[in-house]
């Protein structure tokens, strides 16, 4: 269940300053040996937070990607991409790919 890794890496952006710096300078390399699926890796590297959200990534944790401006994201771009997602009345993605959370 590698969406756990996505969530974990988002928090590592906060906790691990070396990882944060690596993600800012060379994210492909920083993620090279992480336990991610191809689609998760691609979504992370392109800052496709909407896709990650549909896969079950935690929005609160993904916001660290915007806060620390990695993978082409900042608060404005993150806001636009997330707001484009369709959700139900409890804020869950309509096109939900994970049933874990």
């Amino acid at each position: 269940m590698s969406i756990f890794t996505v969530n974990y890496l988002c928090r590592e952006l906060l906790r691990d300053h070396a990882f944060r710096a690596a993600m800012k300078s060379d994210p492909t390399r920083a993620l090279a040996h992480k336990d991610l699926t191809t689609s998760e890796r691609e979504a992370l590297l392109t800052g496709d937070v909407g896709a990650l959200f549909r896969m079950g990534a935690n929005a609160f944790l993904m916001a660290y990607m915007a806060r620390f401006e990695v993978c082409g994201l900042n608060v404005e771009i993150y806001n636009q991409r997330m707001r484009a997602e369709k959700v139900d009345d409890q804020g869950r993605p309509l096109a939900r790919l994970s049933r874990v959370f």
Partner: protein, 274 residues
């Protein structure tokens, strides 16, 4: 015997310390926290018991307790780098914390234990404004309010009642203030953010209803309405209301001295004195 002398409901917006530093003591945030700080100083507690939802910083998705209590001499925070907040070492009261945990487990609440822990902005930001000298020991009681499934409002209220009884059965004559930390309607980082912001208030009507229930001491109505569906309808951190509900369980069903809303943030500043 220890006694509960006051209840507080507090916001914990991580950027508020930065705003207050930038805008000075006459800004709304500074004034609202100053009013609570004055009430707290008058209540003169020996210990603060704080119901709080950790934002996946003290705990994480690898090990996520529904209820937990910190039992240690001190803890540190914030551990998530809110601007203009130093890293504090916060004193605690491990004997009383251990007693509360024992009483809670005896009453059927399987409350997890954490030691050598740090906390995030949800505890450190309110304390930054209310007890900046960090001279009052704080016992954190964690309620999982973000990641579904959430504990029920009824269960959190009953936990609060159990904590209240545990405090009343503690043999030392301590004065205790009980706090609940968090918002009523807030989406952080999710699709219901306001345009251009990192958060939003998806259900302002719910904020109005919650404040009305609080002001009228309609705790049964509040509990009945605060279903998991409603809490998540109010935002991905809407479950933080559970901390206020637990606080009310601990202090008993009372009318507040005041509840001051900040509608644009989906939260309020509440004081219960008697």
């Amino acid at each position: 015997m220890a006694q509960i002398v006051a209840g507080f409901g507090v916001p914990h917006t991580p950027v508020f310390p930065f705003f207050v530093k930038r805008d000075g003591p006459d800004c709304e945030i500074a004034k609202l926290f100053a009013a609570q700080a004055a009430e707290l100083a008058t209540a003169s507690p020996d210990v603060i018991v704080m119901f709080d939802t950790d934002h996946l910083n003290t705990f994480f998705l690898d090990n996520l307790p529904i209820f937990a209590i910190g039992v240690d001499e001190t803890f540190t925070g914030p551990n998530d780098e809110p601007r203009e907040v130093p890293t504090y070492t916060i004193p605690s009261a491990p004997d009383l914390a251990g007693h509360i945990r024992q009483a809670a487990i005896a009453a059927g609440f399987d409350v997890a234990l954490t030691q050598q822990f740090s906390v995030d902005h949800s505890i450190a930001v309110p304390l930054h404004f209310l007890t900046p000298r960090m001279h009052v020991p704080v016992i954190p009681v964690f309620i999982s309010g973000h990641v579904p499934p959430l504990p029920s409002a009824q269960r959190c209220h009953a936990l609060g009642q159990t904590v209240g009884r545990a405090i009343a059965s503690w043999p030392s004559a301590l004065r205790i203030a009980v706090m609940g930390s968090g918002s009523f309607s807030l989406e952080v980082g999710g699709p219901r953010m306001a345009p251009g912001r990192s958060d939003g208030v998806p259900d302002p009507n719910w904020v109005t209803r919650v404040i009305s229930y609080l002001e009228q001491a309609q705790i049964d109505m509040l509990i009945a309405q605060a279903t998991e569906k409603q809490l998540f309808k109010a935002g991905n951190v809407g479950g933080e209301l559970l901390n206020w509900i637990a606080m009310l369980g601990a202090i008993g069903n009372r009318k507040p001295s005041y509840v001051a809303p900040q509608m644009q943030n989906g939260h309020a500043y509440g004081v219960w004195r008697w």
